[in-house]
Amino acid sequence: MRPGDEGGKHMKRVIEFILNGNGVSAEVASHKMLLEVLRDTFEMTGTKEGCGQGECGACTVMIDGVSINACLYPAFEVEGKSVTTVEGLVGEGGKLHPIQEAFVEKGGIQCGFCSPGMILSAKALLDENPAPNEDEIKRGISGNLCRCTGYVQIVDSIKEAATRLSGQDPA
């Protein structure tokens, strides 16, 4: 048991983790999911709440390089881990990540609500498979719903992102 684990309905703890490269800490209640902590405590509002059930992918973030649904991720479990939100993809001076640039270029963004999650799923895919074929792309985004684009431009954006990333020097 740790300090703050007194039980009852008011169990709280200070959690420490890395958020977009920076060490952060916050006191959170035991029933909070990571999504709420990211948006409300850290004002990382790029990550959206869509369904709250792990089906729409609007809340997709990366933890230790792995994409997950923040709406179902207990905040206590993020202790010591490294979280990347869409805000973390943006570079110095607001420079967009190549994946973000590709989405802008290829019309993969309409209302933008699915985009943060979609872009992080694309990153997770391309980190593991830098040259995916179309089926692999569709499978990679099978946990992200888009109500606007019909997915065609999103798949095109990811193909473009793969091309842009492969032309870069390895990080």
Binding site: D5, G7, G8, K9, M11, A29, S30, H31, K32, M33, E36, G52, Q53, G54, E55, G57, T60, V66, S67, I68, N69, L72, Y73, P74, F76, E77, S121, A124, R139, G140, S142, G143
Partner: protein, 286 residues
């Protein structure tokens, strides 16, 4: 969001202790992709969740003849393992069509089973392979054949303090083929019907047959009568027709938001027949 306490024990002993101390509704939680959303919906009550994620030794994979999977093995791990795909192709197939990438990255085999859903995608392949489950609790350890594990929708034979720690899958015989098939409305869907088949062949004749169909009965259903029709026979269209008719009689599907009773009944027959054909083809290739 309903409030609950969240504990992170570092050992099974600590977990049992926490569970025994709880005064309200308490559950163990693995990946949480089912439990958390059900708590949010108010479908289950939880005053406390006891996480199994921090407990060492529950996510190992051992392959020496038979395959031993820790209950906390992630779907993510299974879908990336060529060894597992070779040793247990039907389980690998099930995992590959389960939910979506983000869920597969934190959900576990054990969690899928302990949820006790009749539609659990991991159940048919593991039941067809006659896996054995290791349950551990404050009173000790016991081995339960998976066929005795599911008791009803959402119910298993586990008692409240027990944890599923390990799944042991017997080695597949030479000349055998195992297949899993799933039908959903869209890619991330819970199964409308799923099915698994294991065929062990001896020349042209099927020596051993195991068939399981899910989402069409209160539990994932082992089709023992249909298995007996196939054993000792050659696989051909006439046998498959008879199999199909028998499957339609054996299942008791319901109409719900995903599908109708009539469609599920017809689909059960089709999937079981297809699974037998594909398992047969796989057996011939080994």
């Amino acid at each position: 969001m309903k409030k609950f306490d969240y504990y992170q024990p570092k050992s099974l002993r600590e977990a049992y202790g926490l569970m025994e101390k709880q005064k309200g509704e308490a559950r163990y939680i693995a990946g949480g992709t089912d439990i958390i959303w059900r708590v949010k919906q108010g479908l289950i009550q939880a005053d406390a969740l006891i996480s199994l994620r921090g407990i060492e030794g529950l996510d190992g994979i051992r392959l020496n003849g038979h395959l031993t999977l820790g209950s906390m093995v992630l779907f993510r791990t299974v879908e990336r393992s060529a060894d597992l795909a070779r040793a247990c192709p039907s389980l690998a197939q099930a995992v590959s069509v389960l939910a979506n990438p983000q869920v597969r990255n934190i959900a576990t085999i054990g969690g899928n089973l302990c949820n006790g859903a009749p539609s659990a995608d991991c159940a048919p392949p593991l039941m067809a392979l006659e896996a054995v489950l290791t349950l551990e609790g404050p009173g000790g350890k016991r081995e339960v054949p998976i066929g005795a594990f599911f008791k009803g929708p959402g119910e298993t034979c586990m008692d409240k303090t027990e944890v599923l720690t390990q799944i042991t899958i017997p080695e597949m015989a030479a000349d055998s083929g195992a297949v899993f098939l799933k039908k959903g409305r869209v890619s991330q869907d819970i199964s409308i019907v799923n099915a698994a088949a294991l065929l062990v062949m001896e020349g042209k004749v099927c020596r051993k047959c195991r068939l399981v169909v899910g989402a069409v009965a209160p539990v994932p259903l082992r089709l023992t009568d249909v298995e007996k029709m196939v054993e000792g026979q050659e696989v051909g269209p006439e046998l498959l027709d008879r199999v199909g008719n028998r499957v339609e009689q054996a299942v008791s599907p319901i109409t719900d938001v995903r599908s109708t009773e009539e469609y599920r009944r017809a689909l059960s027959a089709a999937l079981v027949k297809r699974a037998i054909q594909q398992a047969h083809r796989r057996a011939l290739k080994r």
